[in-house]
Amino acid sequence: MALDNSRDAFVQFNRVQKSYDGETLVVKDLNLDIPKGEFLTMLGPSGSGKTTCLMMLAGFETATHGDIMLDGVSINNIPPHKRGIGMVFQNYALFPHMTIAENLSFPLEVRKMGKSEREEKVKRALDMVEMGAFGGRRPAQLSGGQQQRVALARALVFEPELVLMDEPLGALDKQLREKMQFEITDLAHRLGITVVYVTHDQTEALTMSDRVAVFNDGRIQQIAPPDALYEEPENSFVAQFIGENNTLEGVVKEISNGRALVQLDSGDLIDCKPINVSEPGQRTRVSIRPERVEFHKDRLSPDAHLLKATVKEFIYMGDIFRTRLSVAGNDDFIIKSRNAPDQVRLQPGQEIEIGWLADDCRALDA
């Protein structure tokens, strides 16, 4: 999915590797192009190398191999304070001995800006995050959400074109986090800045980003817009990591016309869309989203392969029903159905038949 024309890339990772101990690579051969104005999220479990990438971009870690380019210039040897990249830290890193206004004024002071200009920019930045009345306070006197806004304003006050954010919402409660997610994306698009955002929260990644790069084991597993990432995962790690997912394991029987016939380990046959299987005999892990599973008899296509299932548990979740089934030897097969007036509430112990559209069922690597 990387852009073909590297001249369009504002930030570019070019075959970047990073090792801390000289024995293992934390980042393995990373190639990534980020066009100007994009909101890109690096998503992955802890230890996947996403924060290391961010730190290399910010200049706090040096790449062991490869080039990092910013606006067409290699920044490998440029120290962090000359890169002009704004950064929001996980714990905000607001200087506790300075007031909010002094915190915001700091990057302008080190740029030798005049006093009146400084004051004006600080005021504008604080107003932008609706914190104009708090300039005289100390960080410790603010709530977590307010500190978050100030940290954002401080990263933006010197008008960088690129802003990095390292799990900035991790310390906030759920409601505030959702509010801030919206505010950050809104601000980023309004200012037209490029944002590289690191998180391990997939909901955050999906709701905020233009594109998401899923990291695992030092590599980008898939980089795609949120909808493509969710609906068309390219490998089983991404399928597992993004959203809820049911997996069934089996062997490919035949592939034809963009369809793969898979024989599950239980002996059942199902139709799938082959993603990274290419020939019969390969082992595969089949992935299907819980909300794409159909169990209403009248809605099941008669010529599709159906599977027998036993209802294990029915969980009422308000807007949806979450039902756990035992399917083809998998006791954790989840289906989700909308809470509608005509919806069926399955009873534990009930025997049903389930099926799905072959396009929704993706045969991935084992």
Binding site: H81, R83, F89, Q90, A93, F95, V110, L164
Partner: protein
Amino acid sequence: MTDQTAGQDMIAADGMPLKKSLAKSLQREKMRALMLIAPLLIFVLITFIFPIGSMLFRSVENSIVQDTLPKTVVALQDWDELSGELPDEAVFTAFVEDFIIAVENKEHTRIGSRLNYEVSGMSSLFRKSARKVKKWDPVQDAPFRDKLIDVDKDWGDPATWSIIKTHSVKYTNGYFLNAIDMQRTAEGAQAQPEDKQILIKLFIRTVKMSLIITGMCILLGYPVAWILANLPNRSANMLMILVLLPFWTSLLVRTSAWKVMLQNQGVINDTLVWLGLVSNDARLEIINNQFGTITAMTHILLPFMILPMYSVMQTIPPSYLRAAKSLGATNWTAFWRVYFPQSIPGIGAGSILVFILAIGYYITPEIVGGTDGVFISNRIAYHISSSLNWGLAAALGAILLAVVLVLYWAYDKIVGIDNVKLG
């Protein structure tokens, strides 16, 4: 639950007023807590507060003259010590009566030494007189005036009697006057003769050198603490052992080691001579002076500076420095504007610790200080163990305590004591 109207006292379940009930239950808890700390409290009282209190009391207590020579003191009240004349016969008679009893009780040497603090010669005068006077009879042998002057002509000197009268008060400021190079005389407080004025100089030197030592500790300790706080745990522990190593060695051994290092024929001088930097007949004088004291004490007190600094620095997240750099600050600006202000509580704690320890230091200046590198505490020790002038020692100690408290107060005003953090 009963219905309560506003203004009425709340009633607890058992009918007692709620406030009383609460106070009662809290009191039980407080008592229990007090019981837990009681052993420590008693220990501190007995071994710390009481001895210090009694020591401080000695700096003004002066009942010995009144207790030993009660009649003389009363008789002397009518005598005008500024007249330049000897007191009359009544005083001499009273003195002999008192003195005979004192000699019987063997108290004459004690009062002799007490008055000897003020004017030397008093001790031998009392001793000499005792041998004669103890054979006299207070009734038959009167009058005593000429007899006493025969025993020693000093009794014919009004100054002798003036000393007794001046120092006959029960509580005296004499020791404190002595401690600041003054003396209590018949004409009031006066400066000591110039050759006896050394204590003020010693106080000033003690404070000045303690400040220098504190400053040196800050300069040397800050980078070490910074490295300790920023190294990975394993290497930090190794370095920490090196910092703590001096703690596990006897103070005396460390100070003696400095003696070996610094003396004229010592390691440093030998090395410098060997390297040809210093000629053999012009070896550096780096011991038995202020340089020796400052060097050795800086080394000995350094851990007390490093440890509080380290524990404060450890709490400063590295992300602050990173944030400062990402905002465009150079390494130096990031350190000076962001890191340093946050490490000040550690510097404050370390400085207070080192300064207070230094100002009362005794062993090291004693061993490597020579004459111009000694502290006031060495003088205190001298008065405690050699001259036995405990009153003066107590007065010096009290002044030292006051100086520390004043500096502590000043620190609180300037920096704020709640800014001091030990971790």
